[in-house]
């Protein structure tokens, strides 16, 4: 059985591989090629060497967007995962109404990023004007924290569900044995629960990390980079490079930025995957 499985494995991989090639590998290679070109539409590109990459790295707004993205990513990853884990801990206790609260916390995830962005923009602007602060369009600090709140609000529920699934899989006999041995709840959390839910932590970290790096629609809706591109993240910066100025030079530069961006995301997320994977334990 195993032998024939191995022999025909490629046939089972084929459908997905084909879709992956058409939907990802070919566009990616074409995109890679275009990043060395000047073009208006993808069909009339002229080769341009590495000029686009030089321009991209010299562009201060791109570097600033990168820094801002990292700042948003770091804080939102910690914020989302800690809060989601705490909520998951609370909602796996034997309390009344846990199912109701799970549904409530999960719900914001069902709303699209653009809609959420505009709703939070209205809310935050309202609070800011009531407290006589400059509104989002003039206030980069508020824009930054607004992004964090928005991301948290949207993703905490989703990560919470993953953590709940992980926590429910911690075997009761392990917990019971620990209690008999006199472990405190705190020790159980750190020495048993967290090591046992490490696979969930890996997934949640990966999701929050890539989500915050790839973030576009929430950024567009909430601040659109205002004031003066101070709250512009990577993806929005790339989009603006494409369309904010006429002329074919900018399309190629935007494309080069996009390639740099995907390489960064791939490197960081594979590093993170490797790091958290090492800490996973077998039951």
């Amino acid at each position: 059985m195993e032998k024939s499985l191995r022999r025909y494995a490629w046939i089972f991989v084929l459908p997905t591989l084909l879709a992956f090639t058409i939907g990802f590998i070919i566009p990616f290679l074409e995109g890679l090629y275009l990043s060395f070109c000047q073009f208006t539409t993808v069909s009339n590109a002229t080769f341009n060497g590495i000029g686009n990459y030089i321009e991209a790295f010299q562009d201060e707004s791109f570097l600033h967007a990168g820094l801002f993205t990292v700042m948003v990513a770091v804080v939102s990853i910690i914020f989302i995962n800690v809060v989601a884990f705490v909520l998951a801990m609370m909602l796996t206790q034997k309390l009344k109404g846990t199912n109701f609260f799970r549904a409530v916390f999960f719900m914001p995830n069902l709303i699209g990023g653009i809609v959420l962005g505009y709703i939070w923009q209205i809310l935050i602007n309202c609070v800011l004007s009531l407290t006589a602060q400059p509104v989002l369009a003039l206030n980069a600090t508020a824009g930054y924290w607004g992004m964090i709140i928005l991301l948290g609000w949207q993703q905490i529920g989703y990560m919470m569900i993953i953590y709940i699934a992980g926590l429910q899989n911690v075997p009761d006999d392990l917990l019971e044995a620990a209690r008999i041995d006199g472990a405190t709840e705190w020790e159980i959390l750190w020495k048993i629960k967290i090591p046992m839910v490490m696979p969930s932590i890996t997934i949640c970290m990966f999701l929050t990390l890539t989500n915050s790096f790839k973030l576009y629609d929430q950024n567009l809706a909430l601040t659109n980079g205002a004031p003066n591109d101070m709250t512009q993240m990577f993806a929005l910066n790339i989009f603006d490079t494409f369309y904010a100025r006429a002329g074919k030079a900018w399309k190629g530069i935007g494309q080069a930025k996009a390639v740099i961006f995907s390489v960064i995301v791939v490197i960081i997320s594979s590093f993170q995957l490797g790091y958290t994977r090492k800490r996973e334990v077998q039951q």
Partner: protein, 441 residues
């Protein structure tokens, strides 16, 4: 036997996986295969507000001639990226739009030379064309609609305040009237100007349209039509008119950053303010049954900024809607497209639809008069000897320049100090130079 089963399963899975890819059929793509020698038209329209009228007109044309016409309208603000992806397809638009000389830079190499075509010969003036950046003999684009903007006035309210539009013939008059109305705001229950919202849905009225005036007067002085470095000689006037907008307003300057285009329009509709800067395209929004405003209640006056000869200043009249024919389309499709354009601007149905349904004034010989009062106001002013202010904003170096000015203006509106105004000046003058260089490298 087993092999075949496995293959069949894998094949079925592949089909399912790929089915998802093919479902995105392009209803916009004109199928040139079926219509044979006749060719077909695929028009990528820029103006969402006229989408229905274009669809209707296209249907009529197909009924009359049998030539298939597909009109697709890009979502508001998404024209450039829609066009870019559509042009990369095998069935690309045969007719599309650019917004002026700067927009043409992206698409000049796709433009069919319109010189000598029947539709070109119908134009009332060669001024309504865009020449190729590299070959001044080649006509890349022709304007198909002329629009005007200025300050829309609610004459009913103005009368209530004790004035008529005849009292406003210069910036000084405008300021006097606006300041007076504003000072009596509580008694009159309306302000002078609707909110100058700096949200993305509204800030173009100031970073683009209002900014046109200082640029226009500078070009006039220097006798140019374009520049690589603006000096900003009329920026003080720009500040004065903008001050008027933000001070004599329905809302506090600090709140303008979040105010939208709809907010401003609604204030005007509800009679919260007398003046509202916008263009002839907003006629349908302002005059209708819902607002209760009729043609007699509203008019449009020039935006005076205290520069040039104000006695003969007209409305800002021009276009940022140019037709370009795709030269890479097949010969039959190009011919079909040219025929369609010619029909639109000469036939009874075409000209009527463009005037009545779309409310356009078209720069062609057979044009029908439009019922739009703002457009009529422009005609009246010009007949009385006024010179329309040209749309110089199509020469603004890039979107990025407009955004820079817009953000500086937003900050200034919240805190109108000299320091903040210097940021506007810097975005205007220095920004122009850097953006011009960046956009032309």
């Amino acid at each position: 036997m087993k092999n075949w089963k496995t293959l069949a399963v894998a094949g079925a899975m592949t089909l399912t996986a790929l089915a998802g890819c093919s479902s995105g059929s392009e209803d916009g793509a004109a199928d040139s295969g079926d219509s044979g020698k006749k060719g077909s038209v695929y028009y990528l329209n820029f103006k969402p507000e006229q989408n229905d009228a274009w669809q209707e007109l296209a249907k009529k044309y197909t009924e009359e001639t049998g030539v298939e016409v597909t009109v697709v309208t890009a979502a508001s603000g998404d024209y450039e990226n829609t066009l870019m992806s559509e042009m990369g397809k095998s069935s690309a638009p045969t007719l599309f739009q650019v917004n002026g000389p700067v927009g043409l830079k992206n698409w000049a190499e796709y433009a069919y030379d319109l010189k000598g075509t029947p539709v070109y010969d119908e134009l009332t003036s060669d001024a309504y064309t865009l020449k190729d950046p590299e070959d001044p003999e080649k006509v890349d684009a022709i304007a198909y609609v002329i629009e005007s903007y200025g300050i829309i006035v609610n004459e009913k309210l103005l009368k209530e305040a004790g004035y008529t539009t005849d009292d406003i013939k210069s910036f000084e008059d405008l300021k006097k009237v606006a300041d007076d109305i504003q000072s009596r705001k509580d008694d009159l229950r309306f302000a002078a100007f609707t909110s100058a919202g700096m949200d993305g849905s509204s800030d173009w009225r100031f970073k683009t349209h209002l900014a046109n005036l200082p640029i226009y007067f500078e070009y006039q002085d220097k006798n140019e039509t374009d520049t690589d470095a603006i000096e900003g000689t009329y920026l003080d006037n720009y500040r004065e008119i903008f001050d008027l907008y933000i001070k004599d307003s329905t809302v506090d300057g600090k709140d303008l950053a979040a105010k939208t285009g709809d907010d401003s329009l609604n204030e005007f509709k509800q009679g919260d303010a007398v003046f509202y800067q916008n263009g002839s395209w907003s006629y349908g929004d302002v005059v209708n049954e819902e607002t209760g405003l009729t043609d007699d209640d509203v008019t449009m006056i020039p935006i005076y900024i205290g520069a040039g000869d104000e006695a003969t200043q007209g409305l800002c009249t021009g276009t940022e809607n140019y037709w370009v024919v795709n030269k890479d389309a097949s010969e039959e499709d190009i011919q079909a497209t040219l025929d369609f354009m010619y029909w639109c601007v000469t036939s009874e149905e075409g000209t009527t639809a463009m005037a009545d349904e779309m409310g356009f004034v078209i720069p062609f010989k057979d044009a029908k008069p439009s019922p739009n009062v703002f457009v009529q106001e422009d005609v009246k002013l010009t007949e009385n000897g006024a010179t329309p202010v040209a749309w110089c904003f199509t020469t603004m170096p890039s979107e990025e320049w407009k955004n820079g000015v817009g953000e500086a203006l937003t900050a200034y509106a919240a805190d109108p100090t000299d320091e903040k105004w210097e940021a506007v000046e810097s975005a205007f003058v220095d920004g122009w130079k850097t953006e011009y260089e960046l956009a032309n490298k």
